[in-house]
Symmetry: C2
Subunit: 396 residues, 2 copies
């Protein structure tokens, strides 16, 4: 009998509770022992909950209970989630989480504490919601040096772009629809400006590198400047525009990473990822390309990943798994000009085309020229930016 | 330092060797200890191999070496792979394998021996080549009751169908091209008649159910009867034809399974799986649909999965992981009529359409009618088969 607690009874927390109750037999069979849910921490009042006796407002009830071996931190935010997680790990309890902000910000430190106390800090649900991706990346592809990762990591922006692509909606109208359907927050900045995807690609890149990649050093563009015209031009090149978290592991040991809208050929598996779904494409030196696809958010999908981590923590109690990273001594982020991309460009008619390298798919449309450039660094693109209306990197 | 052996130095075996040499640092970091390759078993002569001292023709060298903790069985075939694996597990060594035939046939027995001796019998590479799918299914989705699995599990047939779909090739011509490219054997029966996919869906279904599903009880059709006309009609319904290994876990505890060509709407992620790639779509009661995609065969991809299992076996030496199943006391296979599908049908002009239930997408073309039927059992379809030229199940 393993004893567990949930911290935060919001959407994901209530999903974790529901799965533990609904699939108790399955969990026991997977763990080799039953999981007893002993506490739910939430500062709100749940005195009308059918299991109201589980609720506590005091984290010390959990920290000081020597019987608790694993805690799901699904409260979100940096504080007090950080302090609670730290104290639980120091008390010898494994912590599992969906809190990408916390993992991206304090992951190195929390992983180090978990190693010192011989427990686990697991965070499968922090990237790709219900999609199994972090554990497969760290363990199933452990024979590979990872070369590249490209992911559709944010369901809100994928939904907006999908509406623009499929239903000819403008960005503003698609955003409004996303908000109406509950896919976007009233303040959608974290999604549409790419900050959510930035934390996720930082987690993926850190895991693949085995060393921390600082998310604040990752160049991050959102989709707010993408127009319906851009989407339609992409269509003419048999491509779609998706917001991509990208990381490439360079020969020099550094990691190039960005979050930006990218053009993806329709034959790519990533191009078919519609609606609010997420997907992560991983390229390893032995396996080549593999892709993980599924629901990137939602109550039960995200809870499914949290509970899988609970099971893993129970199975490996007292033994820290190698699913994490150590703090890098130096900044491993590559300069943006260490990597070249081709760009999809919409330029003024009179712009000198020679500066764009080996141009392909050139089309003259109204008062602009549309084409794909040769391989250019971001710096080279900036130098000619004045003549450019739109420049979107192409995912090869 | 963990000591390992490879049994069989064919395509996959030499790939395993290559990865162990090429990525030794990565492996050591993932395992927490170095992996020393001590033996390679092969009856052929490798006296000109740069590491010829590793080779042995006698399996007892490995069985009787108390230092060996993990062995990769990549020799294929049932015998002597079965006897070697059994004796190694009995000797307290973990065995990892890509041998789907052996896992589908003797898996229950070998898994039982592994549990008794406290070691692991792992077989990630037996399904989906390099794609991480078995461990994610068993562990990352452990919080879910699995409802359905639908997989493109055979690269040869997917290549042939892809050539028919994309390049208007006949089946015979596409098969010839597959053989010329080394994607199909000179005797292609195991692939094109569905036997390879049958063993793989049996392994997936057994793993999801936690109990053995007998592959000989799974209804298996290949793609030899699929014509270019079928493919073109599917296109008109915005669909493609793929060979699908299908399993559905019924409320009564039984498992409906088949291998058959199925019609898949182009909006489904499975429809975009082109060329020799494989993919497995899994539906769980908490997570919904997730999909795993990648190279289903090939030297280094398959070896990547074998080496991941070696790493897992080293990490979990002395502790049997819950990635397997127990022998079912009774046959769990559902009768074929316990599950209904819609069918894509090409029928004679004068055939009575009323017997096909609620017909959709009806088209009169030359001397035949083409349509999608209502939901029917296989028995109901057999009863009206005389009027039917083609009947292909539709994947919802």
């Amino acid at each position: 009998m393993a004893k567990a607690a949930i911290m935060g009874y919001g959407t994901v927390g209530s999903g974790v509770y529901e799965i533990i109750r609904m699939n108790a037999d399955k969990l026991a069979a997977s763990c080799g022992e039953e999981i007893e849910l002993k506490y739910i921490l939430d500062i709100r009042d749940f005195s009308d909950h059918p299991e109201k006796e589980l609720f506590t407002k005091d984290v010390n009830d959990i920290i000081n209970d020597p019987g608790i071996s694993v805690v799901a931190e699904v409260m979100g935010g940096l504080h007090p989630a950080y302090e609670f997680t730290r104290d639980l790990l120091l008390a010898g309890k494994s912590v599992v989480t969906s809190n990408k902000e916390l993992v991206a910000t304090y992951g190195s430190e929390l992983l180090e504490i978990a190693r010192e106390t011989g427990v686990n800090y697991l965070f499968e649900a922090s990237v790709g919601g219900g999609i199994p991706v972090l554990r497969p990346l760290a363990r199933c592809l452990a024979a590979n040096n990872i070369k590249k990762i490209a992911g559709i990591l944010n369901g809100t922006t994928n939904y907006i772009l999908y509406q623009m692509i499929t239903n000819d909606k403008s960005f503003a109208s698609a955003l409004k629809q996303a908000q109406a359907n509950g896919y976007a927050e009233r303040n959608p900045a974290a999604d549409i400006e790419g900050h959510d995807a930035c934390r996720k690609i930082a987690i993926l890149a850190s895991l693949a590198a085995g060393k921390s990649i600082d998310y604040t050093r990752i160049s991050t563009e959102g989709i707010t400047d993408i127009t319906l015209e851009d989407v339609k031009h992409a269509e003419q090149l048999d491509s779609v525009i998706k917001l991509i978290g990208y990381a490439e592991f360079l020969e020099n040991g550094r990691v190039y990473a960005h979050v930006a809208p990218m053009m993806i050929n329709k034959h790519s598996m990533l191009a078919g990822v519609d609606d609010v779904f997420n997907a992560v494409l991983v390229n390893g030196d032995a396996v080549g390309d593999v892709m993980f696809y599924g629901p990137g958010a939602g109550k039960l999908p995200t809870a499914s990943a949290v509970v899988a981590d609970i099971i893993d923590a129970v199975e490996h109690y007292g033994k820290t798994r190698n699913i994490g990273w150590v703090k890098a001594d130096e900044d491993l982020t590559a300069d943006r000009d260490e990597k070249k991309f081709r760009y999809f460009v919409r330029a003024d008619k009179d712009a000198d085309i020679a500066v764009f390298g080996k141009v392909e798919e050139f089309k003259s449309l109204g008062d602009e020229n549309v084409f794909m450039t040769g391989y250019m660094t971001a710096g080279e693109m900036d130098a000619v930016r004045s003549a450019v209306k739109t420049a979107i990197r192409i995912l090869d």
